[in-house]
Symmetry: C2
Subunit: 351 residues, 2 copies
């Protein structure tokens, strides 16, 4: 038992995060009659009594998902909750409870944990969810937050990634790319600070994109808005890893192709001007930046009239047959550029 | 935002794991009508439709809860599931689903994760639970496994830590201290191996206690056994941190005192002989060793006849009024020794 084998070694980065989970959980059949939807969506759907619930878990790791050099602990706690509530919202469910696991090294004092929990409490209050379970343990290094979120949904009313049909319209909430541009500002100012701790960080004029990065919100309001418009999306996902990656989730699981029109992607003026400042293509920021936590969904074309003038919803594309694949339709030329899952990947980014 | 404050620093170890969670989650009121039982028990109880469910989360961290020098990855995966199912069983619920979060550094190849998942799958098959969610992310160092377990329970049939009454009998399943003695053997043989890699580890004659440490089982069978005996425990907890710590959980939450009789604590002959070999007091191993994952519960004295001859249940004490406190009644002398929460503590052990 104590002997070391000399096993085959495949680097995790060769599979990437999505590929890895697929690889590890493939061929794992579910047997419980209460399991309605298992691995592979934003959340699992379970049947309990006459109701259904959705449950999802997500981890934020220091040095991978956040840098404590410029992310305040309170914001980190808030964001860790939001990231998980976003998964619940993307299933069309109402978040109700969370459980929090924190693994933390002894270099963190109790006060650091209190700050994290202040952020967690604030998020619980803001979204009206209960913290019902906690586990705090030490780790050999670093800080790792794992949150499990639970939500309720009327039986059969959950919306999965699967369900988009040819002809459906692709709709996104809010605007994209802001969280990524906020990260660029934080990283730049942190580098300046490290070089010269006397320098004051320049944050003015970047308030919106900094908020998108440091204090994102989960779109738990979209469920009600859609209900009022009498729209039932055919598929839905939240944008955690960038638009491109999420479009591919919808097309993969729905067995369709999707076209996204570059000139329709909603971008905030601050995102645009900051992208220009950094000499970055704002479309790439929206496609690959991630962490916007907006919702992306498909609707029947017959619902177009109901949604077309809504200030918070933007129709950015449509669903085509699977054989056509998923593409970005470039502004101006109208050329088709294949969408690839170049969304932010925790393993690739650490190479 | 980038400035470092110079905050008060309280070492986490001054509070301990239980104290820390209490401190962080204190005064966090629950507002959701579906939250039946929040932080402070083995699992939370939620109401969904006409049913109830229990949910619990637990983390195992490398270097704190396990040492990969002598814990095979497959066993680690299996044990991580068992630890969580044990929490569900201790609520008198039937485990149905799990979600798995793994944070892992790039030093682990894909094959290592496959081995962990092999153990996870095996546990899922053995206990008939579904893996319904997964998150795998990189960490800056080490391996951290967080599992959330979900179980179903008939409305109002869950059993909490609160509920023990004066006069009740204290009952434990199986035997105690074995997992701790198994750990002593693993640590000894690992030290021998490090000193001389040519030495073969001596594991013969320690099979039972090694299994208790490396491949523990969750007592999901107890619910049915008690049902058949027509016994409804008044309070219940699983033994993850040692008998002493769990007795104090029951007495704290039930607002009672508890007496445990030293000579009644069930110990396996292998635990006894190995304790002797290591010059350890076997009672201390049972009280403070932890990781036995047996169930500890209280029953009404009127149920004594039903349970007294059951080979798997041992009556080890009884409940007294709160003012009397909780004590171990020493063999021979009959002296009372106060029970303290010297159960295995992740933070204290790392000092």
């Amino acid at each position: 038992m104590l002997e070391e084998k000399n096993p085959q070694r495949t680097a995790i980065s060769t599979l990437g995060e999505v590929g890895l989970i697929k690889h590890l959980t493939d061929a794992l059949p579910t047997i419980q009659p209460s399991t309605v939807l298992g691995v592979g969506d934003d959340a699992a759907v379970l049947e309990v009594g006459t109701g259904q619930m959705v449950v999802s878990t997500d981890t934020l790791a220091e040095g991978v998902h956040f840098n404590l050099g410029y992310v305040p602990l309170k914001h980190l706690g808030y964001k860790a909750v939001v990231v998980n509530l976003s998964d619940i919202a993307s299933m069309n469910a109402v978040p109700s409870q969370i459980l929090v696991s924190i693994a933390v090294s002894n270099r963190f004092p109790v006060e650091a944990l209190e700050e994290i929990y202040q952020g967690i409490r604030l998020a619980c209050q803001h979204y009206g969810v209960d913290l019902v379970g906690g586990d705090t343990t030490s780790s050999t290094s670093g800080l790792i937050l794992t949150i499990t979120a639970i939500g309720a949904v009327e039986k059969g009313k959950f919306i999965a990634r699967k369900g988009a049909k040819e002809g459906d319209l692709l709709v996104v909430t809010g605007d994209l790319g802001g969280a990524y541009m906020g990260l660029q500002i934080l990283e730049r100012e942190h580098a300046v600070y490290l070089a010269n701790p006397q320098m004051q960080p320049e944050m003015e004029g970047y308030e919106y994109i900094l908020q998108r990065q440091l204090k994102p919100e989960a779109r738990t309001d979209v469920r009600t808005a859609l209900e009022q418009l009498e729209i039932v999306p055919t598929s839905m996902v939240d944008i955690s890893d960038g638009l491109a990656s999420e479009v591919l989730h919808l097309s993969d699981q729905s067995q369709v192709g999707i076209r996204v029109y570059e000139d329709k992607i909603p971008l905030d003026p601050q995102t645009l001007s900051t992208a220009e400042e950094f000499n970055l293509n704002p479309t790439v920021c929206a496609l690959s930046g991630g962490e916007d936590y907006e919702l992306l969904f498909t609707i029947s074309p017959s619902d177009y009239q109901k949604i077309k003038n809504h200030p918070d919803f933007t129709v950015i594309g449509h669903v085509v047959e699977k054989q056509q694949g998923s593409h970005l339709v470039l502004s101006g030329s109208g050329e088709l550029s294949p969408l690839t899952a170049q969304g932010w990947d925790a393993f690739l980014n650490r190479e």
